[in-house]
Amino acid sequence: MSWAGKILRVNLTQGSCTTEALNRQWAQEYLGQRGLATKYLVEEIDPKVDPLSPENKMIMTTGPLTGTMAATSGRYSVVTKGPLTNCVACSNSGGFIGAEMRFAGWDMIIFEGKSPKPVYLYIVNDKAELLSAEEIWGTSVWHTDEWLHAKHQDPMLRIAAVGRSAEAGCLYAAVVNDLHRAAGRSGVGTVMASKNLKAVAIRGTNGVANVKDFGKFMQAVNDGKKVLADNAVTGQGLPTYGTQVLMNVINEMGALPTRNMREVQFEGANKVSGEAMHESRPSDGKPNLTTNAGCFGCTIACGRISTIDRGHFSIENKPEYWGSSGGLEYEAAWALGPDTGVDDLDALTYVNFLCNEDGFDPISFGATLAAAIELFKEGAITTEHTGGHELAFGSAESLVWGAETLVSGEGFGKDLGLGSKRLCEKYGRPELSMTVKGQEFPAYDPRGIQGMGLAYATSNRGACHLRGYTVASEILGIPEKTDPLETTGKAGLVKAFQDATAAVDSSGLCLFTTFAWSLEDIAPQVDGACEGDWSAERLAELGERIWNMERDFNLRAGLTAADDTLPKRLLKEAAKTGPAEGRVNDLDKMLPEYYELRGWSAEGVPTDETRQRLGLS
C-alpha cells in the first residue's frame, strides 16, 4: 500500500478543505509525487490556462516512499502550470515538510481557485483549516516561519512559504520549506502567491503506516543504504564537498558558462568553488562553510550550511545575516558567480541567503541578472532604467543591489523579476536571453557537454539539469563514461536519463541517490512498500509514460517542436577556450534520433502507437 490513500483538496475561493480517496488505479500507473500529481493536474486543468489565474491548480505532493525508513525519503514536489515557461512545472524539494505531510496522513494537497484574502493552510494530522495570513503578507519566508512557530507554539511545525518576491510577481519565485530548502524552479512560488496562499504549516504525529511487506521493505532499504555508504561519491564525496566541488571540475573541462554564456571558462572559478568554501578567510580566519546538513532520512547529507564574514560589505550593518544558514549549492553558486562574472564568495552566499529568505530561484535570478548586465553593456539598458545604478560583469555590488532590488519588487526589480526571456524581449534583444522555453540554463555549457544540449532542448520544464543529468555520464563517468564532445549515442543516453529521473522523482526519494543507485536498487524498495509488483523495467516504463504525459500537456498548451531548441549563441558562437574550443552544440545531429527513439513523429508528437504502448489516452 504505502500510499496514505488520502488527498486533501483545498478550494481557496470557497475556503473549504475536503478529503478524497487517492485514485489507486492512477497510483499503479504513475506511482506518486511528480508522476501522479501531474496526472491529476493534466486531468483537472485546461493546458491553455493562464498559470497565474485562479483556474490553474497547484499540487503539493509526496511519493509513496516519502517519510518512510528509506534513505533520502524527505522529498516532495510542487506541481502546477508554470508562469515562467507556460509548461508543466514540477519542482522537487527536500527538507522535512514532505515527511511531515505523510505523518499527518496525506499523499497530496490540491489547491484550486484563489482566496479573497491572504491565508495559510494549517494541518494537524487529519484536521486542516485555512487561517488568515494578513498579518504576514508582505513579509519574508523567514519571518513567516518564525511567526507561525510562535503563533502555534509548536517548534516541530514544518512550514513551506512564499516570500516577498512571489508576492511582487517575480516569475521565478520558489516555495521555500524548512527555511532553506526550496521547490525552486519554474515559478511555482509565483503560482502559490497568485492564489493568496502564503504558507502551508503541517504537524503530523502518526508516522507512515501501510508498508506492504515490512520485512522485505526493510531488507531492501538496508541494502540500499549500504550501497550509498560504500559508494565513493555518495559515501564520501557529496557529504564532504557538496555539489559545489563541481565548480573547478566543470571549469577545467571547459563547460562553465561564463558572463551570460559568452565564454565557457571563468578565471575566478576557484575563488567561488567548493574548495574555497573550506578555506579560512584572510579577513576573519574562518571558512565560509560551517557544516554539512541532510534532509529528512538522508544518509548522504550533501547540504551546505555557511556563515558570511561579518565585515563583508553586504552584511556589515545587518546583524540578521551574521548567523549561519543554507549555503551555496553548485547551481546557485554558478548562476550568482561565473554567469555574472562575480568571484566574491561571501557576496554569492549573501545573495543565496536572500533567495532563501524571500523565495526566489538563484539559477533564474543569476542568469537574468547576467542578461541584464549584457543588455547594459550593449546600451539597451541604461542608468535611466536602473535608477542610476551601473551594471557590470564582475561587480559584486551589482549582484547584491540586483537581489535587494528584486526583493523590493520596485523599479528595476520588477524587470529583473520577469526572467531573462521577457527582460531581453522588453529591451529589444531577445537573442541575449539564455533560456529554453522561457527558463534559464543551469551550470553546464552544452558546447562542452553535448548531451546536455539535447537534454535542455527537450526538457519538459525548459532548460534544466534535473530532467536528464547526462553530466553524470559525460563528465563524472556514472554509470559509464561517455565523451562529452561526442554526439553519437547521446539521444539514447538522454532518453534513458529522462525516463529514470521521472521514475525517481515519483518515488519520494532524492535524485542524488542515483550517483550510486540504479532503478535496480530502487525497485525492491518500492516493491517492499507498495501494492503491486515493481521491477526496474516497470519503473523505467513508468518514467517514459510520465515523460510523454508531460510532453502531451505542453503540446496542448501550445508548444511545438520549434520550442525544442537552444539560444543561437550556443548553436552558432563557438566556445573560445578549453577542450571544446571551436565547438558549438550540435543539436541538429541528436534531435531527430531522439524523436525517433521516443516514438514521436518528426514534429515531435507522440505517435498513436507510442501512446498505446504506454497506456496514454
Partner: protein, 72 residues
C-alpha cells in the same frame, strides 16, 4: 585538498618532472594515493583509470585530480 603539495596556492602548483613521466609518476611523487583520485583530467580531457599509468606528460600540461565527487 589534504594532498596538496607545499607551496600550492589556489589549489594549484607548478611542478618539474623527469622526461617521460606519467600521471601515476606525478601522483606518486606527491604522495597522492592512486585510489583517492577518482577524476583525473589532463588539459581538460578525462583520462580513464586504465590509461593513467601509461599517460606520458608533456611540458606545459595541466593535470587536475579530484576525489569522488558529484553534484547537480
Amino acid at each position: 585538498m589534504a594532498y596538496l603539495p607545499p607551496g600550492a596556492s589556489d589549489n594549484a602548483v607548478s611542478v618539474r618532472l623527469d622526461e617521460g613521466a606519467t600521471i601515476f609518476d606525478l601522483m606518486d611523487s606527491h604522495q597522492v594515493p592512486r585510489e583517492q583520485a577518482h577524476l583525473v583530467v589532463c588539459n581538460g580531457l578525462f583520462v580513464p583509470p586504465s590509461q593513467r599509468e601509461g599517460y606520458r606528460l608533456q611540458d606545459g600540461d595541466v593535470v587536475a585530480l579530484w576525489p569522488p565527487v558529484a553534484g547537480g
